[in-house]
Symmetry: C2
Subunit: 140 residues, 2 copies
């Protein structure tokens, strides 16, 4: 496997609305996307574009959202995960498993509509890492 | 101000050597840089290239390193900061201060040899944010 492009950094927030205001007003981002629900992951999502990658703002969706635990420890929000692209998600899963890294669940549809999985932070130097099949209509 | 490119994500680690092995063997990164000391920041640094940005591995350097506290809470390491480029560091500092964000100290030379400052995570949705003047010989 070859290290792919950083598709996005995942930033957890108690309020996507407040975070969008912050990224637009303070950081000078242009609002180019609208928030949407991703019920299978238990998150509401909105992407913010930078010139070379994206910020994925994630807010808890529902009582069982996996983000609640993170926000309990980090009430203001914070860096949640990073996401790298791979050409083939199943090959990537086999690669990580062969190397002994813990893949969290089966590949499932992620926020960009392609298959993703997460690798346990304990096997990634403390960094929760999302592996994502590159979007075929990727404009980057 | 306009949101600039993500120069790097900063990842704290108790051992750059171990992290380089992880990023090369497990993530498929190519070793293109060598670690170096940045005594003014109290860190040892090594960059890892991705196709569109970099990972900045940072290890504590010296007793007073600001990374010790982070590693006490996150012994395996983890996501420490993100860094965005700006064309002019002094204009950026004035911008953040006008907006009421807490700029941590005066601009100083960072790991890429250009001026940088940090913005307090409390003013950035919990994300410790480095602002960095773009390298003039930037090869990206």
């Amino acid at each position: 496997m070859k290290l792919g492009r950083l598709n996005h950094i995942g930033v957890a927030t108690p309020s996507i609305e407040d975070s969008l205001a912050l990224y637009c007003d303070l950081m000078g981002a242009e609002l180019a996307h609208t928030p949407f629900d991703l019920p299978a992951q238990g998150v509401k999502v909105c992407f913010v574009d930078t010139p070379n990658t994206q910020i994925e703002l994630i807010e808890p969706l529902g009582e069982d959202s996996p983000i609640h635990g993170f926000l309990a420890k980090n009430p203001a929000g914070g860096q949640h995960h990073v996401c790298y692209e791979v050409p083939d998600i199943h090959e990537a899963k086999a690669w990580f498993e062969e190397k002994g890294a813990r893949v969290l669940g089966e590949p499932r549809i992620g926020a960009h509509g392609t298959l993703i999985f997460f690798v346990h932070p304990r096997d990634m130097g403390g960094v929760l890492t999302e592996i994502m099949e590159s979007p075929r209509d990727d404009l980057h």
